[in-house]
């Protein structure tokens, strides 16, 4: 066992959450070379750890999916890297990133050319055609893959005003869907994160919430609230809707591609989760007592 691994294992007993998180991340770097004894120490730390992202980091070391946190109706959102069994989570992220980009490189140009050619060939008949519908699905699939590729890059951390970022995202999603999005967080709220990764997570959750809400009857119901704030340990963003709530199978099963929405490529939640995982955080889903769902983003993003 080398000195850095030993020091990191000792670090798992640190009183501060940042100390334990740092130790867990250090161990991620050496996950492949951990002895059985070392893995046992990590497992003991995992069993007693209460902070979600430290648990998440430890889960990556142990190559297990982070189990649902909390009680009642709260579950952890599925992640893409859970699909690659037995792989180091960091390697899994890289593998997802590279393979997604590779596929996109090969496919996206063909999809683009096919769409242009079909538009030319079918002319006025194109907009209402089945060809258009199928090609649009392919296009959306490419867009989903592209977002996934973006969600699995190494984060570039910077400090910025979360309230501005969230408001801009809310405005852009509101423009696409017939749902009112009400930002209700602390103004001038500085956080540390990767804007693109956080943007992927927030946008996906807002779109999910807005789509779940769109079919509701009254204008008062067709509202999504997004709030943000911080505890001593974490920054949190909550996206609250009044839709049907998270699908029951999300609690039983994990994996990307799951969705309750017809016609949706279904990558949104797993991609949001993957993006936050890159920041050492996670996404949780809760069924609200009075209907609808709350998607909670948590990450250690205080400057």
């Amino acid at each position: 066992m080398n000195d850095r691994v030993r020091a990191a294992l000792d670090g798992l007993k640190a009183e501060t959450e940042s100390g334990r998180l740092g130790a867990a991340r250090e161990l991620q770097e050496h996950a492949a070379e951990l002895s059985i004894e070392a893995e046992r120490e990590v497992s003991e730390a995992f069993a007693t750890e209460k902070v979600p992202w430290v648990r998440g980091a430890l889960a990556q070391v142990l190559d297990v999916g982070a189990p649902p946190i909390g009680v009642g109706h709260t579950i952890a959102a599925p992640r893409w890297d859970e699909q690659i069994e037995g792989a180091d989570p960091a390697v899994a992220r890289r593998a997802i990133n590279l393979s997604t980009k590779r596929v996109l490189h090969e496919v996206s140009a063909v999809v683009g050319r096919a769409r242009v050619a079909a538009r030319t060939d079918l002319s006025d008949a194109y907009p209402a055609s089945e060809t258009n519908r199928q090609l649009t699905y392919l296009y959306e699939l490419c867009q989903g893959l592209r977002t996934l590729a973006s969600a699995t890059v190494s984060p570039k951390l910077e400090e910025f005003d979360l309230s501005q970022e969230v408001s801009a995202l809310a405005e852009s999603v509101e423009g696409q869907l017939l749902v009112r999005i009400r930002p209700e967080g602390t103004p001038n709220f500085t956080v540390r994160a990767d804007r693109s990764l956080l943007g992927i997570a927030v946008r996906n959750l807002l779109v999910n919430a807005a789509e779940a809400t769109e079919s509701l009857r009254t204008d008062n119901d067709r509202v999504v609230v997004i709030t943000w704030g911080a505890s001593k340990k974490a920054v949190h963003i909550s996206v609250i809707d009044r839709g049907p709530g998270p699908a029951p199978f999300l609690a039983r099963s994990s994996g990307a591609g799951l969705s309750t929405k017809i016609g949706h490529s279904g990558y949104g939640l797993a991609t949001a989760s993957e993006a936050m995982r890159g920041l050492g955080g996670e996404v949780q889903l809760t069924r609200n007592e009075r209907g609808g769902a709350t998607a909670l983003i948590l990450w250690p993003g205080l400057p």
Partner: protein, 485 residues
């Protein structure tokens, strides 16, 4: 000029993709001139040689024709080259390799501009993933159509050989003003890369507005606009022209500065001098001298002749022009270092019907010997390509060598009043004769770098000034060290 077209550069290594893009984006070949580069090196060469109205750029590109492996980093590097070399040209990134981090970075660099004079800011960088080729095609077609609309603006250019980009610069400004037509006339000699023009714009039912348009390369236009911003507060009231608008984008590698036209009648001072109106010229110079008196200083600054000369022309530029540099070492001068226009020739001073002057062209402004501006104005009549022929054969080479002897120098001069007024201003502003000699030397050496028929005359002025400076080179003053700059 040939019929205007939209100049497109397509950088794409996949031949199938290139063919598809060309066919879809350019259905009407009469409206488009497209160049295609399939690797980064070819693209860089093309950008260096030509100008474009739109660049469509893939990201995964081979570095050159020999290396076939496409790299995204090569495309990212090339994008930066395009931004640096063609800062006013919109770029559409069309790539299968985009991720959100890249998109964010591209937009951070991009900025926006009114590319068509439509009073609408357009992004200078647009990003399309390859699966969204239809949107890219639509955007390119829209750009071609809007460029065509811009070209359709009725602008009369009698007897002017303006390039496509220069015309577009003027039309962009004209359209931002809501004009329905325009007419331009030259205000300069028309031989240099930069052009100064009178632009008259008419708005139906409203009337017409006259402005001065200075056309030039984008780098020069941007520099002049920046310097103007710094310099404007120091221009005495009534002597400066207000900068109304700067065309920095939408016209290839060219741009324009639009200055306010103070009077209905405006002509360059050079035009008066060419027609022998020395008295009018003297009046304008007198007014300039009085107005710019606020720039004068009594503080003397020691400086070497080399420093003064290099501020106007470098050693290398003179070598390239075949000019032998005399030994400048040991020649020191005290000067009144003052705020200065630094390019005050007869086309940069406009006069109205009462011979009241307005200064334009602020691309060179800065600190200089106080004698430089009046001497530049005095001597420009021999060297500016728009004026030199009108005054030859005066002065002889001998007169040039002894130009300080004003009576002798003025023998045969068509505009003696003008020259006398310039000289009086130089004498008043300078510490003494040595500052005038050194300034004349530096200015003449700069003119010598252009070669041509006036080089011999420029060297005669320089030789004469140098000889007197060398003859009267004073021992180094122990308490007053020349400044290195």
């Amino acid at each position: 000029m040939t019929d205007p077209v939209c100049r497109l550069l397509l950088i794409e290594d996949d031949p199938h993709e290139a063919v598809m893009i060309e066919q879809q984006c350019c259905p009407d070949l009469t409206k488009v001139a497209l160049e295609h580069a399939s690797n980064a090196t070819d693209a860089e060469d093309t950008i260096k040689e030509s100008e474009f109205d739109l660049v469509i750029c893939d990201l995964a590109l081979p570095a050159d024709a020999r290396r076939g492996d496409a790299e995204v980093t090569e495309g990212q590097r090339l994008f930066q080259v395009v931004r640096d070399r063609l800062p006013g040209t919109p770029v559409y990134i069309l790539s299968g390799n985009l991720d959100l981090h890249m998109v964010r970075a591209f937009f951070a660099i991009g900025g926006s501009a009114d590319l068509y004079g439509a009073r609408t800011e357009e992004p200078l960088v647009n990003v399309y993933p390859k699966e969204d080729l239809p949107s890219c095609v639509d955007a390119v077609q829209a750009h071609i159509a809007k460029t065509g609309n811009l070209d359709g603006f009725p602008l009369e250019c009698p007897d002017l050989e303006l390039g496509l980009s220069d015309e577009r610069s003027l039309k962009i400004y004209a359209r931002t003003q809501g004009a329905s037509s325009g007419i331009i006339n030259p205000l300069d000699g028309g031989l240099s890369d930069a052009r100064t023009l009178k632009l008259e714009l008419t708005e139906d039912g409203v009337g017409s507005v006259r402005t001065v348009a200075k056309l030039g390369s984008l780098s020069k236009v941007r520099r002049e606009a920046e310097r103007f911003e710094l310099f404007a507060p120091h221009i005495p009231l009534g002597l400066g022209a207000h900068l109304l608008y700067v065309v920095k984008s939408g016209a290839g590698k060219r741009g324009a500065l639009i200055y306010e036209f103070a009077s209905d009648y405006t002509a360059p001072l050079a035009a008066k001098l060419i027609t022998g109106e020395g008295v009018a010229g003297a009046k304008a110079v007198g007014l300039l001298r009085a107005g710019l008196a606020v720039w004068s200083t009594e503080t003397t600054t020691p400086v070497t002749l080399t420093v003064l000369r290099r501020a106007l022309v470098s050693d290398m530029q003179l070598r390239d022009a075949g000019v032998d540099l005399p030994d400048e070492r040991g020649i020191e001068i005290e000067i009144h270092e003052a705020r200065s226009h630094r390019d005050m020739h007869g086309f940069n001073v406009l006069v109205n019907q009462d011979d009241e002057p307005t200064l334009i062209d602020y691309g060179e402004v800065g600190k200089a010997p106080a004698a430089l501006d009046p001497l530049t104005l005095e001597l420009c009549i021999h060297f500016h390509p728009g004026m030199d022929a009108a005054f030859a054969p005066w002065p002889s080479l001998e007169q040039a060598r002894t130009f300080l002897d004003l009576d002798r120098y003025l023998e045969g001069c068509p505009v003696p009043e003008f020259v006398k007024e310039c000289r009086a201003w130089a004498v008043e502003a300078a510490v003494g004769e040595r500052e005038i000699l050194a300034s004349a030397y530096a200015y003449s050496m700069r003119q010598a770098k252009y070669g041509g028929t006036t080089q011999e005359l420029a060297l005669a002025f320089a030789e004469g000034a140098y000889a007197r400076l060398r003859k009267r080179a004073r021992p180094k003053d122990a308490t007053s060290r020349p400044r290195d700059r």
